[in-house]
Amino acid sequence: MINKVVSGAEEAIKDISDGATLMLGGFGLCGIPENCINALVNKQVKNLTCISNNAGVDDFGIGLMLKQRQVKKMISSYVGENAEFERQLLSGELEVDLIPQGTLATRCLAAGYGMPAIFTPAGVGTEIAEGKEVRNFDGKDYLMEYAFDADYAIVKAWKGDTAGNLIFRSTSRNFNPVMAMAGKITIAEVEELVEAGELDPDYIHTPGIYVHRIFQGKDYEKRIEQRTVRKSEG
């Protein structure tokens, strides 16, 4: 197998330069690549375009990059938990392209599957359809949406092996596998890195061919955004 292991987040992101387009996995704060985000903050790389379903919170996740004004443009479906984000948006410092969540996911899939465009009914007849091709199939209208073109995809998995194979845990899977397929270069940080052969080939979510660099991350905080519980019974 081809060994994809790098020493850590710093090495993994070392060639990411100003103006790059990044995909960042995660839904809310669940399954985000914490180590790589911190390394990007330390590296102070700027003018980034970030494709990510959400934009983190003020003091965690992509919010840390926003605070340093490293992000020129966010491409997201929902960005509502972030005061600094709002400030930059209203002041015109930050561009935002809001797109439907399913369209976001499917434009990643399209890139990973070599399909230049896809059709979705999401947004037909709304302002997000402006300037887009509408096409009718079987009496229903669809928008044509293009595959994303990202320089890097940065994802977080639960387990990975030295060949780059990834397994995600529970709903921290979310956008991670589709973004992993979609980057020109894909960087994966994992909670546990094992030797090739330790993961069952039948249960791999992202085959190693899609992953270029992998490392075992450290000090995962895995912050919970909405801690909701029920009372113990009895």
């Binding site: 839904f27 809310g28 704060l29 669940c30 399954g31 379903n53 997201s76 479906s77 929902y78 960005v79 509502g80 709002e86 948006l89 209203l90 809001l98 439907p100 969540q101 399913g102 369209t103 976001l104 996911a105 499917t106 990643c108 899939l109 979705t120 009914p121 999401a122 947004g123 037909v124 007849g125 709304t126 302002e127 997000i128 639960w158 995600f168 845990r169 529970s170 709903t171 921290s172 899977r173 979310n174 956008f175 991670n176 596998p177 589709v178 979510h205 895995k222 912050r223 919970i224 955004e225 909405q226 801690r227 909701t228 519980v229 029920r230 009372k231 113990s232 019974e233």
Partner: protein, 219 residues
């Protein structure tokens, strides 16, 4: 007039045995508490889960297991996890039988606006545009009038649209209404103690009243 809980309770009666259901944030989330006993229903959470269970017991929260509202949740026996592309794939392919979501405005031709208010900070549409454009069966849970006392059931939406001609049924604190394919809100039921005249006054769009209009029942 119905409370939010009662709106949720009334909507729950629309859920049939064997349904896969996607619940939006707000009143729709409450619907889960009223799913009739004895029927099998699977809740889909669009961040990638089928078979959403209740909130975890204290101390059992799992940061890796959340719903589309980012709340900590649990799975149930028979649950499955998948990525976001598959999640919206099954939504787009109409494998989800029923979608329940909130709205700021609904028009008499079934358009819905629920994601953006001009001049206010826009948080984004999340999965709402995908859901309304794809679902074969959508129920809107909403207040009949806004805080200024203006009707939210309109001849035409004034806010930016989330989807067009997609809403089939609305449950409010005042009434249950169908949106007719040819246009118009057809009054089906009224909340206990609410008159047809009051519903008429609260409905800016075309209200269609035919025959006896029974009171909403929750049992």
């Amino acid at each position: 007039m119905f409370s939010k809980e009662e709106i949720a309770q009334r909507i729950a009666k629309e859920i049939k045995d064997g349904y896969y259901v996607n619940l939006g944030i707000g009143i729709p989330t409450l619907v889960a508490n009223y799913i009739p006993k004895g029927i099998n229903v699977v809740l889909q959470s669009e961040n990638g889960l089928l078979g959403m269970g209740p909130f975890p017991f204290e101390g059992e929260e799992d940061a890796d297991l959340i719903n589309a509202g980012k709340q900590t949740i649990t799975t149930l026996p028979g649950s499955s996890i998948f990525d976001s592309a598959m999640s919206f794939g099954m939504i787009r392919a109409q494998k989800v039988d029923l979608t329940i979501l909130g709205a700021m405005e609904v028009s008499e031709n079934g358009d819905i606006a629920n994601w953006k208010i001009p001049g206010k900070m826009v948080k984004g549409m999340g999965g709402a545009m995908d859901l309304v454009a794809s679902a074969k069966n959508i129920i809107v849970a909403m207040q009949h009038v806004n805080k200024a006392g203006e009707s939210k059931l309109l001849p035409k939406c004034t806010l930016p649209l989330t989807g067009v001609k997609c809403i089939k049924k609305i449950v409010t604190e005042l009434a249950v209404l169908d949106v007719l394919p040819e246009g118009g809100f057809k009054l089906l039921e009224r909340a206990p103690g609410v008159s047809i005249e009051f519903i008429q006054q609260s409905t800016a769009g075309k209200l269609i009243v035919e025959g006896e209009i029974p009171e909403m029942r929750l049992d």
